[in-house]
Symmetry: C2
Subunit: 374 residues, 2 copies
């Protein structure tokens, strides 16, 4: 036990976090915008902390600030830097164009490998909520240990409902306590199949968290995405010249690289893979409905701002996200299960069970060319 | 016909309008406030014109600006003057304290009688909506003619629904075409009785519009409210000294006068009275529900602001009454029959069929001592 602990701690000095912070910001309109995607917002139950700041805080036990990389869109670099003032300038990788997760994770792995050939990388989404930090740490500990053996490892979330919006991972044989082989990746299922998955005890939600040695990932990319591997090598040689050359090469490589997810490009073609099944109060915060679910609620199940005046109103989410500091009254009378979201330049009223349809507003604004509201 | 027309026109030079503009401003919260009651708002279908400005415009065919008096609360004088910049300074009577309609109408009648002993007064509420201006003018013409004969005359609105929120007037014998005797005033009925009233063809809504010679009203006050009559004489003598003396006397008289409505204090005790039954698209605009009823609507029965983004939304009233001139998006998705009202410092969401319950918000704000929002 003691020697295991020491092994784990000595591994930690090689652990890097790559936090994926792209995102388009449609689902949390009007709070989220093109220039202000969800991870930059404090829409979780911790109403003073953005989701990305909470994500960085969660990896602190594993890696200090100089071993955290934030992969984001070039157009989001400034806003993302402002959200994470504790990180050094070179922590931020700005993708010139969005190409899904495989090119981005490959690029970050290559950057990390140049700094530390022994690096172990954990890739984490920046816009999820995790309620149980201790359980999260335990799962990450196991995943890092597994990754250190040279096996790409993912965390699978124990499903608590037959969710049809997520991909699933089917777990196979036990590797050790808390770690299993990945049998296969499953696409988003229909409801019947999702019910079977929940009942099976061996299906887990694909959390989008991946753990690997940087060298392992680069080998897999060589094997399964040779074009991308070549591009990454081109960026690496350019980086030996100067920053401008590196930036130009990065732009050219991204512009000519295909959009591919890491799941499709690498994971589904790689064996063995390991999965750490875990249950740490995970939510992908997919909509205002999720924000309501996670919020603290009053006796009438209303979540959000405590200052709202609520009369005969139950199950609502009220958020006043205006930034001018003026005191305002938000009053709801006789309405149930609504989301009422106010920002400096917009108001949204939508039933919780239609929260996914926020995109219809975004589409309407696009059609009306009200681009400053997107 | 010609001689009648001439008689009517010569009467017009003695016609004065007394427009009652008190009001507490609860029902249209958050648009209406203590310091900004309903008549000062543009909440009718004419969204650029306050209700009181529309009322003054309606009496123009009968009396020019110097024969219009506005009776309002002293605390509302400035705001009311700003709403009616076309009226001279002495058009505004500020009641030192609210004492219901009898003292106020008595005071105004006395003021008018001193200016013109032949004066015919029409008393009109300032916060109603009238759709058919021509039909209104016809009814007023008949009422002025009747008042000129020395008989207090009211306009009764032909009921189009069994409304239990209004008082009714039962009409009796025909006096002449379009004018009947008042049989009696009826309190607000229950629903069964209201249905009988609508079916009877002889019951009319009490519109609160009264027409009389100033001298007739002062005689009736002498007869039925001798204390008030004495107070009014005291103000009249003070007015012969100077403005300060008059103001002090007015304050003392109002402070020591009982609150009595003109209906209870004079009308119900006076006989004969005449009523002019009329149907000119009258609404007392009693709530946001009435504002929706009167508003122009889109194909999905949504009323209010054309700029709102409405997706699968029907029967809503959306009003953005903020005054900072910034462009904002108000978006409603999948909600029906709601009022969504936004002002600079408040937002209200309430179903149309609960619009009366706006008062519950006002009560809650009072309880929380949020007096700046009242």
């Amino acid at each position: 036990m003691n020697s295991e602990k020491q092994a784990s701690n000595s591994q930690h000095s090689h652990v890097y976090a790559v936090i994926l912070a792209g995102g388009s910001g449609t689902r949390f309109w009007p709070a989220s915008r093109r220039a202000l995607p969800k991870q930059l917002l404090a829409i979780g139950p911790d109403r003073d902390e953005s989701l990305i700041a909470a994500t960085v805080r969660r990896v602190e036990p594993f890696c200090s600030a100089e071993r955290v990389l934030i992969a984001t869109g070039a157009h989001l670099l400034d806003a993302t830097r402002r959200a994470l003032p504790q990180l050094p300038d070179d922590a931020f990788l700005g993708e010139p164009v969005a190409r899904n997760t495989a090119p981005c994770i490959g690029w970050a792995s290559s950057v990390v490998a140049r700094r530390d050939p022994e690096a172990i990388v954990m890739v984490l989404p920046s816009d999820h909520h995790i309620a149980n930090a201790a359980a999260f740490r335990d799962a990450v500990e196991l995943a890092i240990e597994s990754a250190a053996q040279g096996v790409i490892t993912t965390i699978g979330i124990t499903p608590n409902r037959p969710e049809t919006g997520y991909g699933y991972i089917e777990a196979g044989a036990r590797v050790k306590s808390g770690v299993r082989r990945v049998q296969r990746f499953e696409e988003k299922p229909d409801l019947n199949r999702a019910r079977e998955y929940v009942a099976s005890g061996k299906h887990f939600w694909n959390s989008g968290m991946f753990f690997f040695r940087a060298s392992t990932m680069l080998e897999r990319i060589d094997e399964h995405m040779p074009d991308l591997a070549q591009g990454l090598r081109r960026i690496a040689s350019a980086s030996e010249r100067d920053a401008d050359t590196e930036r130009d090469a990065t732009r050219e490589v991204f512009e000519t690289t295909k959009s591919v997810s890491i799941d499709y490009g690498i994971m589904e073609k790689t064996s063995p893979l390991h999965v750490v099944p875990a249950d740490f109060g995970w939510s992908d915060l997919g909509s205002w409905q999720s924000a309501w679910e996670l919020s603290e609620k009053d006796a009438q199940s209303n979540g959000g701002d405590r200052a709202a005046v609520l009369v005969d109103a139950t199950g609502n989410l009220v958020r006043d996200l205006r930034t001018d500091g003026k005191k305002r009254v938000l009053a709801l009378v006789g309405v149930n299960d609504l989301c009422v979201i106010e920002t400096d330049d917009a108001l949204l009223v939508i039933p919780r069970d239609r929260a996914q349809d926020v995109r219809l507003v975004v589409e309407a604004l696009q059609a009306q060319k009200l681009t400053d509201k997107l």
